[in-house]
Amino acid sequence: MTLIDHLPVLLVAGPIVASLLTLVAGWHDRRLCYPIALAAVLGEFAAALVIFRQVMGGGTVRYDVGGWAPPMGIELVIDTFGGFILATIMLLALMTTLYAFRSVTKEIPTEKTVSFYVIFQVLLAGLIGMTITGDVFNLYVFLEISSIAAYTLISATRKPHAYVASYNYLVLGSIAAGFILLGIGNLYVATGTLNMAELAAMLPGSYDLATVHAAFLFLIIGFSIKAAFFPLHLWLPDAYTESPSAVTVLIATVMAKVSVYALFRFLFSVFTLAYITEIYPVTGVVLLIATIAIVAGAILAIAQDDLKRLLAYSSVSQIGYIMFAVGVANQIALEGGLLHILGHAVMKGCLFMVAGLIIYQTGTARLSELGGIARKMPLSCAAFALAGASMIGIPPTIGFMSKYYLVLGAFEAGLWPYAAVLLVGSLLAAAYIWRFIEIAYFGGHHDEHHRTEIREGPASMLAPALGLSLLCLLLGIFVAVPLEAIGLAVAQLLGGA
């Protein structure tokens, strides 16, 4: 066995070792923390890419922890879907880490920076673990690790509002975790195994049991809370608005996507397409709620005055797009859904980075006070405009491609009215993105005299934002590159593999 074979477990163990190193180094000198964190994330990103290439070349990668064979032991499994998500989240984590340095220095009390970088690595360990584990209980453990780390990070600014937001998320997150644990318990009662592949093989024999239906509902509700799927999104706006900018970027992109991934994993890999469409049909309900989420999230976003809160409600709307793919549940729509996981991570990452930059430079995110900001921060606002165009779905951006596939999928399933709602959602997205664009580019001539000191943000924060906004464009033009992996992943999901 070479080191490459151990990469799956090193991806989980690495961040934990890094967090210990950060702690020890931070004891010696606070300034050592950031280089270690950056090096660790770079290493994890490289490892994720290596694994992704391995998965694309030679199929699913498996690793038996402790050398125990799967049904008994815990197994790490990375298939095409897992590899794709892993590469996506590590890319965003890397960008966030680059972005975090200046942002953390300014927003987080100095004596807490060491703890910040330690917990940051723990959060990554939990999220990576959730992505690559092949065992449902292990997934729950990693979910708890990442959740507890996230609660801490959200309150890292130590402001009263941040504590309230973090506490709200703690309560709802714990309810979600409780639901998920109950679901896993029920699955274990029904089948006697916790391994995902084993569960998928054994569950069809118990599909008529009420236990299994209860488990399914517990799991879908639990993960819907974690993923902030519409009526269960109540923790999200506060948590995104009040946390430090770097944390907002991380939880809005990486963490939200991993929760959606876990939901997809349960819906399609543990339960199967046949279960969710025929035996216990939920796709119709999911489709209906997803369309409500798209419209309601966007309308709520339009009504906000705070830029970060606007983007948070936009996330509620965009999660609706991803869940729309589950509701339609055919090859093309799911390709659109997975593409939207990537696309939304990239564009929402960029938008939140720009929001963070604006807060960094002006100290406020209230739209009413940001008139004419584009003249002071042209590059940041250009990045926002480009990512915003992608959010609306203007070709040739990634946002256009994913929505195009979703609409095609809806057409193929004969769901014409729902396809129309997708387009309405895009119009509403145009409305809330345009609000900021209008204020930034055309607003506020009158208060210009006392805003002369505001300049473009630091390069280490600006570069990741610009990079992600260009990525929105490049991914849209070269959409065939991610689609190659996505097509395979969707085929595996629909095949119940």
Partner: protein, 143 residues
């Protein structure tokens, strides 16, 4: 709180037994019911009992905030260390058997499990204790 001789004497007597029992539960983890998590909680409960019967300062003299912090990191470090050592001996993560086979020491497998359990126990003990410190600290800084 007023001095209470009965409570303090009983706690003085009980704490060593609780801690011995905690160590027993940790060491027993490899072969029966028990393990690092349970043992760590039992061990921490002895500190919690001390905090209730005496006061925070009394317990802090025995294990301070710095101590709990070092212990919580040390435990994870032991766990990770053993796990990665197994990889260096060309096994999978936490596959103790390969080290036993490579070094030829009988029952090393079991000792390594005990070591890992002890690591878990140390971390759980330290984290539980630091939680009680933070909760018992009335509004002050948790330095």
């Amino acid at each position: 709180m007023r001095e209470n001789v009965v409570i303090r004497t009983v706690v003085r007597l009980a704490v060593p037994f609780i801690q011995i029992f905690a160590l027993y539960v940790i060491v027993h983890g490899a072969s029966g019911a028990g393990g690092g998590f349970q043992g760590g909680v039992v061990f921490a409960s002895s500190f919690i009992l001390m905090t209730i019967a005496f006061d925070l300062a009394y317990t802090r003299r025995r294990i301070g905030s710095r101590g709990t912090m070092i212990c919580s990191a040390l435990g994870i470090a032991i766990y990770e260390g053993v796990g990665i050592l197994c990889i260096l001996y060309a096994g999978n993560y936490l596959e103790y058997g390969v080290i036993e086979a490579a070094l030829g020491i009988p029952h090393l497998h079991g000792y390594l499990i005990d070591l890992v359990e002890a690591g878990i126990g140390i971390t759980v003990m330290a984290v539980m204790t630091s939680i009680i410190y933070d909760m018992a600290n009335r509004g002050g800084r948790s330095a």
